[in-house]
Amino acid sequence: MRVYELAAELEVTTRRLIDHLRARGIAAHSTATDISRENVLKVRGDPPISDRRRRGLDAGQRLRGTSALSELLLTDTLPSLNSWQANPVPAPTTPDLLKNVRRLEVVYPAFRRHREALSLLGSQVVYATCISNNKGAESGLALVRFSGAIESAFGMTREVLFYYTPHRDLQFRDFKGARVALRSLNREVTPDLIFMCSEDERLDIKLDDWSKLEFTAIPLSPHLDEDPLSVISLIRDHIFARDLFYETSPVKGNRFFGRKTLLQSLRDDLNHQRVPALFGLRKSGKTSVLYQLAEELETPSTVTVLIDLESLPSPPDDPTPDLIADLKTKLQLQLKAKKQRTREIAELGNQPSIVEFKNALQGLLHRLSDDDVQVVLMLDEIEYLTPSDRVDIEEGDMPRIAQLLGALRSLVQENDNFTFMLSGLTSAITESGRLYGRPNPLFSWAKTHYLAPLLPEEADELARSTGGRMGIELTDGALESLYEASGGHAYLYRNFASFVVSSLPLDVYRRRIERSDVLRQSIPWRRSIAGNIEEMLAHLERYYPVEHILLDILRESPQDFAEISRAEERAFNHLIQLGLVMEENNEIQLNTILQIS
């Protein structure tokens, strides 16, 4: 029997059948390939490959756990209802829950239709309640646990909130209300995705406007099509439309991955009042580490102040007055949030001198130490204090910067409840013996850390988890190729993943990235990102001149490099620590992002 004949019999496309045959290890090169009788029998015995035409639920059919799941993997047309039921959730039986469900159904008849459609999909309501606002209107909340098949196809792992609002003209505050309700549930629920039901005719448009990547509300029409599969289409259209990989702002919390050892040693440094300094390439994830660290340090008695120096003036203009003012405001704000008084710095004049500022801080810290309050100051984008491309940072005329850093240093030495840390591109601020015509107060005192690329396993976790939330599965081969092409650079890695995702078809029900998908996009991606990589290198050229030349030499005459790297030990170490070159079995290699394609 030929492929096309069997396809016709099984009511599937030949393409699909060929894929299926291959997956079964049966050779099939074209639609005309002859398939042995034995194999025909095997395939006939398989669960349906795709039965678009037999959509309805076959009541007598038993749910087929794994084989139904494998069907999902094989198909890109709408899989049958029963495959979505695989690994169903048991229907609720507790009287309390049933009572609440019925009550919600009375207030919102649409809820009943939704619940019925869900239960045909092996999914159940596990919690229901009504809450009334001060005007007596009632919102409905239900938590739904989806079937195992749906959860795995769309990367959901927890209960999902279905929110019913009485308002016909949905307002932003209703949307916010849903978020608040979600948080107040005190249960392990999906934090970034809800369904929202309202009679508002512009529900789709409004929710689309208000939804952000970190929080998506899927519009659920009260008049949703009877067919339970329309719930699936709805989920697909919204979850697959997200691009959680593309992200240019710093991340923290559940969007932050890896860096465990680094965070541990930074915490250690701060606990022991060593001043850590974190350096890394552009977009390597420095600010994210600071955000994450601040979050991890958070206790009722720790005050963390993060200052981004970029919005302040930069030499040759004197940044210190603005920096002091900024510090003062932020510190006051944070202290007030912790119910601490701020008298000492509040009493400071308008333009305090560095000495006045230091003394005020000294007094404040002294008092805070009685309450065991710790203060941690984080200065990000430190190159704004030392723009070595613009001023001579060793001998240039900006003594107040050195003075201020000196004051911070003595505050650390004199108080056991204060410390600070730095972060930026260039390590000159800790490695140069002199700073603005004085001995550098941070030289061989601050502890330098470099931010290397993500490790392969950290990147894998990032991709698996982020992909999962968009219903995307990545094969090991795909992960390997993603890492290889981006060199593990945090931003580039995500950028590439996002690029690959945008090339995936949207009209499938199972999204999966394989090595070949990644490889196919790798050249177009490199082309799209080439300008950004050049810019990153331009930053390196500005702040690490010797390192930049070494990279050139490594590219142009790798045979000389070993010798040169020994002579330029410090610069070579920087390159290794920044992850721009790798040393493996005595061989030195450029990070793949720097290799010309």
Partner: protein, 382 residues
Amino acid sequence: MTKKDDYVADWLRDVESHSKRFSVLFVQLGAAHHPVRTRLSELQAKHVTLNEYLTQSSEGEKKSSGLVVIHDVADLAGKRQRRMGETRAQVMADLDRGDRFLLVSESCRGAFPPVPGSSLIEDAKVINGPMVPNAARVDSQRLSGLPGYDPSNGIGRDELLRAILADSDSKLLAALEYVCWERFESPRSSLEILSAQDLVDLRSSGLVQLDDGLHAWTVEDCWKEFRIAVADAVSAMTAAPVGIEDIYRQLWEIERMLRMMIGSAARETGGNHWRKSLFSAAEQEALVESARRDTQPTASSVADLRDPLEWLTLTALFDLRINKQLGDLGVAKYFWPKLASDLVPIRNRIAHNRIPRTGDQDAVRKWHTIICRGSSPGRQSP
């Protein structure tokens, strides 16, 4: 709305959906896309100028403004970078609230000065203005794919080319001069020698487009006219490019330093009669000739010149170091060839009053740090 304009509406829809994915978009709408500017008002968005954006603080407001279109971001190009930092800080804060941004600029990305760290412009996703679909083009010229091409209103090929080049960044002009006139490349091969950053800018300015995933000139079928337009635009450039003063000063210092380093080594090696022993008779004659033409009309031999080395070109000076085995002079030996190959072309460009190219400023600054501030560990103090 006429049929020809429908593609703009499509493009606006794309902008809207891109903004949801990428949060901050940068688009250059220069001469090539001029008519598109007025259509931006159709975007469901908050439309502001940079000044308005920075002054009408939306602080305290919890609700997102959705899409915010800032219409004159080009104001940040060439301005003091503090403003850029302020704008970025504000944008970052508003992003947290869920705002999305379209940064509209008449200038390309390359025209914005580099900032020390995070950069609003560098981090924005670049999108390009729309192209007129084939069916709606007024004629068969490739340029007619640009919305700004409008012969019936007096903006034909030459006018459009002139307008695009007139608001090009100086570095981009220099790159075009290089491929069109110095290298004399064919349109296709020229695309391979342009830097990736220049290509991004050429695309956003409308001169290059993506064809089947590959770069292609929109001026390919009028290359001759384009070259002439480039020549005219380059000659017409009289305002000093941004950063020229730094390049100039640093080159001057580097070269003085090199002349001092090589000169004193040469004098030492050459002994008392270094003037004569360093140079062959023919070389001596050439040096004296140069001096006579310039500052010392009466000089008759190298002995009359205060410092004959001053009359050597930079290249000849580098050669002297090698030929006379003057040593590495405190600069790591493998740096010398790179120093020469990096610096000589830039130095010649500047010396001949030509326009600096993308990367020149960074390269000069890098060597200045190494040679004049001795920041290289490879440079042992003499």
